[in-house]
């Protein structure tokens, strides 16, 4: 049994809970109400999508707007909290997913995605988002 120092145990639980809520919300919004993703990305967020970078919320939303309609299915999820030395004491987590996605008229592909999320005014916001097809 892994025993965490007390502060870490709480953070691990928060990370797991946030990750479990996040992945459902994120992919459902992406597939059905993509424009609302604006509410999830920080103004300064960074995206790397199959090697294509987009800097800042506006650029990211513009990038997503040009993607075909999509249908995601998530098969794997894992989450970690960041340690204080890295996050500067601001609750921050990493969320890693694996699943499949079908972009309209394209073959079904599997992919991995890694997010960093930080809490701002009691809301989780995406700091960075890195997506890569498995191929």
């Amino acid at each position: 049994m892994t025993t965490f120092p007390e502060g870490v145990a709480t953070k691990v639980d928060i990370a797991v809970q946030a990750g479990e809520e996040f992945y459902n919300l994120y992919y459902e919004t992406f597939d059905k109400k993509r424009h609302l993703l604006a509410k999830l990305y920080m103004d300064t967020a960074k995206l790397v999508w199959n090697g294509n970078p987009a800097d800042g919320k506006e650029a990211i939303l513009k990038f997503f707007e040009n993607l075909p309609s999509s249908e995601h299915k998530i098969d794997s999820l894992d989450c970690h909290p960041l340690i204080d030395q890295v996050s500067g004491g601001q609750m921050t987590i990493m969320v890693k997913t694996y699943g499949t996605v079908e972009f309209s008229k394209n073959k079904k592909r599997s992919f991995q995605q890694t997010f960093m999320l930080t809490s701002q005014n009691n809301k989780w916001m995406i700091v960075s988002d890195c997506m890569r097809f498995q191929e």
């Binding site: 794997s76 894992d78 972009f103």
Partner: protein, 210 residues
């Protein structure tokens, strides 16, 4: 005549590794990845102890390839360590905690019990998602194969590993390490572990047919 709100059907071009930051940062990450997997593939992963921060966290998840319709190689050798939160009982927090390794020694002990591997570094793709003076975040994707064992065959699989690192001395140490292992597609398995093609030779190739 069509309407102008038709949604796009073409995907953006899929590109190779993406490095953010300076060339120094790129060189640092490339060296780190090379060194890390050289030790990881050796017969002694204890050499990775110094690669981890004292409060580092590691976990792994394994999952069948959702894009493959036919039967896939077993992942049973990873079942015990699998922290896939979708497959674990939603309410069982103790299991979720147990599968998250915290601290250098528990992490190294765990890495030492995972199957012996050989990674195909030619297949590696590195995406750097966050660069600052205090942290680096990047993901490595690529192919590896497990060593042959008496009780199971050697399978070629795809891995994706997300690292978060902080500066330490001349280099950096890992604070978060998230590994996911997925079965390779047939095409992936076929194109991986190819040695560089031999230099073309002027003499005719001799083909032997049975």
């Amino acid at each position: 005549i069509t309407f102008d709100i038709e949604s796009p059907t073409e995907l953006p071009q899929i590109k190779g590794s993406f490095f953010a930051g300076s060339t120094e940062v790129q060189a640092l990450i490339v060296k780190f990845v090379k060194d890390y997997f050289t030790v990881y593939d050796s017969d002694n992963r204890q050499g990775l102890l110094d690669a981890y921060h004292e409060q580092a966290m590691f976990s792994m998840s394994a999952c069948y390839n959702g894009a493959i319709e036919f039967r896939q190689p077993s992942l049973k050798m990873y079942t015990e360590e699998n922290r896939n939160l979708i497959q674990l009982n939603k309410k069982d927090l103790s299991q979720k905690n147990k599968l998250l390794k915290y601290g250098r020694i528990p992490i190294i002990s765990k890495l030492c019990t995972l199957p012996q591997t050989t990674h195909d570094t030619n297949s590696f793709i590195v995406d750097v998602s966050h660069v600052s003076s205090s942290l680096l975040s990047f993901t490595v994707c690529g192919m590896f194969k497990e060593a042959e064992k008496r009780d199971h065959r050697s399978f070629i699989r795809w891995f994706t590993r997300s690292f978060l690192t902080v500066p330490y001395g001349q280099g950096m140490v890992i604070t978060n390490d998230m590994l996911t292992i997925i079965n390779a597609s047939t095409e992936q398995a076929q194109k991986s572990f190819k040695h560089p093609a031999p230099t073309p030779n002027s003499s005719p190739v001799q083909e032997v047919s049975p």
